[in-house]
Symmetry: C2
């Protein structure tokens, strides 16, 4: 049985959500949201100390995108994945990687790092200017990519939608008050899934993460 | 034919390297290393403006990890990929995602963002302390993961090695003077590949990126 090292309101939500979608049993090692404590808890068992980390027999695996692909193809019979010969495969791959590759870093740079640099009162380093508008640019890209399709990889819900909810919510928070109809409809669609509700009950017992509040500093990648 | 939008010394090297490994033709849209100019060049054709971006007929795709998987499975007949039933599959997935998911962000936080915050002279925000030691921790994880195996996914060279060279070099630069024998041997092994030399000639005509100099600021993710 898959053991999931989980920290509340971090990327390990994604693994719990996929397990609930697939109806697979799992063991949840739950750590309440607390950066210092949670890092120590997972560093005690794995050198990187990230959430999610999973253990499956003798195998240890970290990195949410990798874990979702692993579960889909080794435990889920391919459900919620997209096969190489399917039309949605390129988009599936792009969003599986984009969520953590380009999206989260750019949003964090704009919403956390740039304000820290600004608050320092020092002359603004030239690179900080490049962060401005990241979240809006991403949100526009998501909006355009969801035109005429219900999910990120096309007609069907997939693991790519699970990967993308965090950066989509973060970009929406950053651009609060601005409406992107395709993005709003997609959020409502994925958040209405019964497996999403079961994930919330198990992985976020203290309530879902804020949707339209300011970017919470403690949500940042801690290391 | 795949058209690769490439900026010198950025992540688009990876796509060129894989195409050279596979012996596939490609069209290279080359932009010399210059952040402002290169961003504008790619933003003119794609909303995110990242390197790599590729065009394949009517399809546009960004994100290096996704592009490598796409090329492996749609153009390369699966060569340099690892199939779900192969023993190295979990590791292959982990490193394909880890390179940009956890590794590069953590190194950039330690080597660029923390020094910017320190140079500002402002009181250090608590989160900055969490960045310290990131690169050393990563390098130790790489060293341990390469024990008893020649490549990141096991016995055979794969796209995961192409993904990992950039974060491995960055972590080595950050810990210069410290020796990790498995990591050193792996670097020598992958950099000795004829396709790597062909990539350097086409994608880095002004010389390879520095190996042991200080972390070059202009190598950062620009947005």
């Amino acid at each position: 049985m898959l053991r999931i090292y989980h920290i509340e309101a971090r990327r390990s939500d994604r693994v719990v959500w996929l397990m609930e979608e697939l109806g697979l049993d799992y063991e949840l090692i739950f750590t309440p949201k607390d950066i210092a404590a949670s890092l120590m808890a997972i560093k005690a068992v794995h050198p990187i100390g990230a959430a999610p980390t999973v253990r499956d027999g003798d195998l240890w695996l970290c990195e949410s995108g990798a874990i979702l692909e692993y579960v889909v193809n080794r435990h889920g019979g391919g459900r919620f994945g997209v096969k190489p010969d399917a039309p949605g495969y390129p988009q599936y791959l792009q969003w599986m990687h984009f969520a953590e590759g380009s999206a989260m870093g750019r949003i964090i740079n704009e919403m956390m790092i740039a304000p820290m640099l600004a608050a320092s009162g020092a002359p603004k380093p030239p690179i900080a200017g490049l962060f401005a508008g990241n979240s809006r640019r991403l949100l526009d890209f998501f909006e355009q990519s969801l035109a005429g399709q219900d999910y990120f990889a096309g007609e069907d819900f997939s693991a790519a939608d699970i990967m993308m909810l965090m950066p989509v919510r973060a970009a929406r928070r950053a651009c609060q008050g601005e409406v992107r109809p395709n993005v709003e409809a997609w959020c409502a669609r994925v958040e209405a899934r019964p497996a999403y509700a079961r994930m919330l009950a198990r992985a976020l017992p203290n309530g879902p993460p804020p949707t339209l509040a300011g970017w919470p500093k403690e949500d940042a990648q801690p290391v």
